[in-house]
Symmetry: D2
Subunit: 434 residues, 4 copies
Amino acid sequence: MKNTNVKPAEGKLGILCVGLGAVSSTFITGVLMIRKGLGKPVGSITQLAKIRVGKGDDAAYKSISEIVSMPSLDDVVLGAWDIIPDNAFESSMKAEVLRDRDIYPVKEELEKITPMKGVYDPDYVKALDGTWTKDTKATRWELTRQVREDIQRFKQENGCDRVVVVWAASTEIYIPRDSEVHDSIETFEAAMKADDRSHISPSMCYAYAAIAEGAPFIMGAPNTCIDIPAMWQFAEKENVPIAGKDFKTGQTMMKTVLAAAFRTRMLGVNGWFSTNILGNRDGLVLDVPENFKTKEVSKLGVIDTILKGDEYPDLYSDIFHKVRINYYPPRNDDKEGWDNIDIFGWMGYPMQIKVDFLCRDSILAAPLLLDLALFGDLALRAGKSGIQTWLSFYLKSPMHDDGHCPVNDLFQQYTILKNAIREMGGYEADEEID
Amino acid sequence: MKNTNVKPAEGKLGILCVGLGAVSSTFITGVLMIRKGLGKPVGSITQLAKIRVGKGDDAAYKSISEIVSMPSLDDVVLGAWDIIPDNAFESSMKAEVLRDRDIYPVKEELEKITPMKGVYDPDYVKALDGTWTKDTKATRWELTRQVREDIQRFKQENGCDRVVVVWAASTEIYIPRDSEVHDSIETFEAAMKADDRSHISPSMCYAYAAIAEGAPFIMGAPNTCIDIPAMWQFAEKENVPIAGKDFKTGQTMMKTVLAAAFRTRMLGVNGWFSTNILGNRDGLVLDVPENFKTKEVSKLGVIDTILKGDEYPDLYSDIFHKVRINYYPPRNDDKEGWDNIDIFGWMGYPMQIKVDFLCRDSILAAPLLLDLALFGDLALRAGKSGIQTWLSFYLKSPMHDDGHCPVNDLFQQYTILKNAIREMGGYEADEEID
Amino acid sequence: MKNTNVKPAEGKLGILCVGLGAVSSTFITGVLMIRKGLGKPVGSITQLAKIRVGKGDDAAYKSISEIVSMPSLDDVVLGAWDIIPDNAFESSMKAEVLRDRDIYPVKEELEKITPMKGVYDPDYVKALDGTWTKDTKATRWELTRQVREDIQRFKQENGCDRVVVVWAASTEIYIPRDSEVHDSIETFEAAMKADDRSHISPSMCYAYAAIAEGAPFIMGAPNTCIDIPAMWQFAEKENVPIAGKDFKTGQTMMKTVLAAAFRTRMLGVNGWFSTNILGNRDGLVLDVPENFKTKEVSKLGVIDTILKGDEYPDLYSDIFHKVRINYYPPRNDDKEGWDNIDIFGWMGYPMQIKVDFLCRDSILAAPLLLDLALFGDLALRAGKSGIQTWLSFYLKSPMHDDGHCPVNDLFQQYTILKNAIREMGGYEADEEID
Amino acid sequence: MKNTNVKPAEGKLGILCVGLGAVSSTFITGVLMIRKGLGKPVGSITQLAKIRVGKGDDAAYKSISEIVSMPSLDDVVLGAWDIIPDNAFESSMKAEVLRDRDIYPVKEELEKITPMKGVYDPDYVKALDGTWTKDTKATRWELTRQVREDIQRFKQENGCDRVVVVWAASTEIYIPRDSEVHDSIETFEAAMKADDRSHISPSMCYAYAAIAEGAPFIMGAPNTCIDIPAMWQFAEKENVPIAGKDFKTGQTMMKTVLAAAFRTRMLGVNGWFSTNILGNRDGLVLDVPENFKTKEVSKLGVIDTILKGDEYPDLYSDIFHKVRINYYPPRNDDKEGWDNIDIFGWMGYPMQIKVDFLCRDSILAAPLLLDLALFGDLALRAGKSGIQTWLSFYLKSPMHDDGHCPVNDLFQQYTILKNAIREMGGYEADEEID
């Protein structure tokens, strides 16, 4: 490894999950099993991928940890908050994602991971009943203070050198960005102190607390949370990296692949119909039209930024794009995404592609959680702060400040990721994006 | 445009199609309609794409003809050989690919395009009955001579400056590469003269004739034809570019996209089942197990070179891959490819993706034919000779000499294509492949 | 043929379509082509099916017209109303359902079929702009009178002995059954006279006029129209048969087949997700949640009456059933229905069935229109009046009076149809329904 | 229950499975769990269905055991032969069909079910290695004698009143019916004695032994076995019921439903493409073209007998039907059947239906095994002998003697089944088949 300005990954790294549900428990169980050699971290770039560094005769393929200093999974300490008191073993068993035989070998370790009490506001997660919560009458400011204490205590008790906080809980109801409250640190802090519950969501308490404690914060759901100027500024000010939002798992991941292919081949698109059926809490929340509205907006944008209708009006200026999410309890955590894509070729003649993706939300999300946590920590050690656009690869609606446009093409996002890693590793960021 | 070593595309360019069936007639009708502004060349990179040249502040997006000298479609002259005497109008009507309303506006021009008599050997295309053929008793060498005369006459009669020959006829039966016959120009020519029909296919007569006449030759089917050392050497010697083989249209194109996505995301693959139903002559030929064998071998290789099981044994070393082609007359030229892909994620948990591609062979192939012809001509003007690996983007089984490996990842192929164009345009070939 | 009480089908039969759009013009063009021997009435029971009559040694398979007196297609006269003035040729060409080559041979006849001016109320068909309408200020009662005059004039001018009226126009917005207006003839007529536009839809004017003129009326859309006691009573009183509602075409037809199969095999069902994409006016109307609500209610009921959750609680009492209709313009008249069905077998273990039906609304509806018109006329000649439940076979939401339950199982419906025909033909109605 | 000639189901009934693999162990585990109230016999007509008896006012819906005397599951004793020594618990665990939590509650009982040594001939099941076999050098006649002894011993040891034998093992290689050997009891017995291994398969030994012992025999695979005149005669002579062949589970079951629907609606069919992927031993055997040939013949016939191309030549005389079975190990016991059906409607216009059935072989087969065993016993008690065509409902290729045609329409088969039960119960067999 070259000498770089990245601080070495020494000591223990705490990964604190907000929410100890299906995604978190699958992630945690997996990490413990992998440590014992009883599982493979499939889907994780940090653990498995090899990246080229150097060009021509100097080219070499190296794993991430050969390029920059990365913590071993043995140095990771796992923790969580939740609004119900199930420990990680109980949660894993209830989730029915992993088979019993993939949970029992680490039962004892899982039972020791009990959640800290969660910040709970029933107005933000209507389908959920919190029984293991911090005082619901406390102000947002007070709650944030308590979360900070939780982080401090966790670090101390577990001898952690650094901590990353990852939101892996349910989607909150939509709160639109409000320029008066959300656009500066001052107005934002004032609203927290005034306990302005309609503008300050529970997730914002965690995010603010994490940043205040110098812990990178990752938003895995489509919550507004850190996607506001106040948070961007606060993260910059505190020199803390943040990244979001919404883990890019199944259908959207495929979309950002297929759209890239059509554009590469100059095949036109005039319709894209995407429907999803899923039976977990995400499905329940997103089946409500109001909640889905924001998700829809960002989902629709995804293919536009890839296809560039402005540049190719004959091919992509008239796309009928529709995305539907349907709560469908028979499926539980399994998700099915069915896409019908109407493309056209030579002389405008129509063709159809149908993609049926029988995926598993938690199985796809767990390695993203791991990578985002480890890369969040890497960013911190590399002195990066604020929005980490190089992590867009993992995110459905990559955050960006007001002056920029997101990159959604999966392969371009991967190029950006690789360049960032090369650079942190002291190599040239030598790949062009198109 | 910069000054480069590429000769300008002056004068007329003849595009001679071997076979005036569905693909060729769709291509020809399309070109004529597009010239009149009655259609769009969807799917064609040469006509529609914009490529970045220069980096950083110097970056600019330009169409191909702004980067290197390319002929206008108005300067293209179209011709064909076939073994039945239908003219391009009759062929277009019979193919039932385009609607009447997209053929009639250029009826007169189409009727003027009558095929030259084809080289016919019933043993190579068993399902077909030739009625418009060169003397079937003539030796391969004599037939090659006649094809050369056809090319010369066509050039002269149409005032063509340059000619490209593209194979767009049926797949011939498989002939394995025979090192004694196919590995040197000398033995190959001797076999032609000795009329060795079991080693010299009709398509080889066209290819040899084209090269001898200085015309780039493109192999659009999986025929062995130019995929032998004798042809590589001959093309190098005559300074003629060749490219093949097999237009990369539907299912394989998708495969080279999806496999790239899985590898990027480090998602494992343990099964890939691909089945096709199609009712045209290709289907008939490929339904015969012996004929399909070669196609199968090359089709299977496609994903291996992308996924690299050697480098990622936990993810890609144990893939059960099966490809089936079924003759299914109810579909005619419409092709349906159904893929089931068994992938796995975190901890090895399985997920499934099913892709149903209702495509149209001729609609997908026509723009590839156009691009390959124009790029074949560009290569000639740029002084390139032999196998043109930079055109792999368009080909199912990209040809390569014995010392190299093909690139199958669609996006990597596109990068290679763009770099080649940049270079010919006097720019830096600045994109890395991974 | 046996002697029966059914009056013979002598003289001409007029079939008057309300709406001369895609369905009607496909139907009309088809009838004219079939008469000339240029097409086949595929999908039509009256024209193609053979039914067993008699049992054991007396069993014989006969076509419908061998069992009861049926008019020949040569004796059918075609007409229509519409709110735009396109004749049947123009409408057929615009619909893009049939190819030009299947329309031109009967162009002259089609051009003679010009629509009578339609009853138009923009509040009932919001997406449509009527330019060929009866006076929009006239009362419902006055409009009904005008429609009656239309029917009389059509009969006289065309020498028709009998007339049937079939609604084949767009779905109107939903009007709930209102017991004060819709439950008796008197209150209903009073509302028409008072021009109560919120309770009396345009379709009701046609239905009332038809019944008053002794013409059977068929409701091919899900409109409330004749599905109210006032109409049932009026039809009984005037001795006129009525039938409805909503042509049972694609997805629902399949549903009533598959549900029957699951129940027969005692396979459990715990989820049924149905989504549709279609681009015609039906799609536009039904994409609006309020309009879809009624359709949804009836669509959901379909499988319940087949599966009988009360009788088989372990198998069918907990089904999550969801139906979605999506307006998707790229498809025009082509409709795609995608169903995912979660079934379970031995020990409750889950399995999945996905059905993708790429159908064509007008192609499926045209033969239903023909059969319903001819059977409506048969019912009249057989002295049947009021709701014709034996025609449920053709209908998505079979009408039934308040004391009965609909039969939705396609095969049971067919048995009922056959029994009714047998009986009218003087044979025993000898098939049991289960 | 009425008084009938059916002997009451008194005492214990032994069900002996040939093969203790996935299907048998799923069946056995299920029966044991259901007895304890820990599972439901979903898919079983005998356990769950209600059938109408009587007509009109006398109509009543009764379960099978209310109509005729049927054994309770508590009176069933389970046993098996196999060529590997795994007991039912081990086999169930290896099969990975049922979850651990659905096996452990009956672990003890399962462990007691150890297989008797099987008749093994490696030439008939090439993919399999027998380690728990009867003497492979013994003649077929001697082996049959040993199987008879097994049956006698099992009856005695378990106090069984009656026994049924069900083949639930792998498909044997195809042996064509040989008129010299297979057409009479005499020549057949002579061949057994002469140890004619090419004409006498292992499954024939079990079948002959069962019949000789008065035990009904059910053939659950497509083996030739009892589908020969010698067996029909022998069964008639010994007054023993036999039924076969091949459990009608996934794709074929669906086919016999959909074809029935198309014919009912007079929708034409011009193509039916069926492909299957499965990873169990059945898949391995059937992937070999020679083995598949018979299966293919019978599979193809299925839709012809339903659609009746002779009677409806415009609709069904030109169907391109293709069935493919692909061995695909990633799926294990899960089977996926993908059908594409090309239908046509009004004027011959094409439409497509695609059905993707993600099924589980053993889950679908287990209740069929139970029903066939119990109904086989019922037939015996009712004095029926020879081929039981009323059980066609459960079978892919319903056996029939040379003078008859099979019924394949699932709903017609169900009617036949119900009529037979009614009749045995002393009611009128009152349903007509069409």
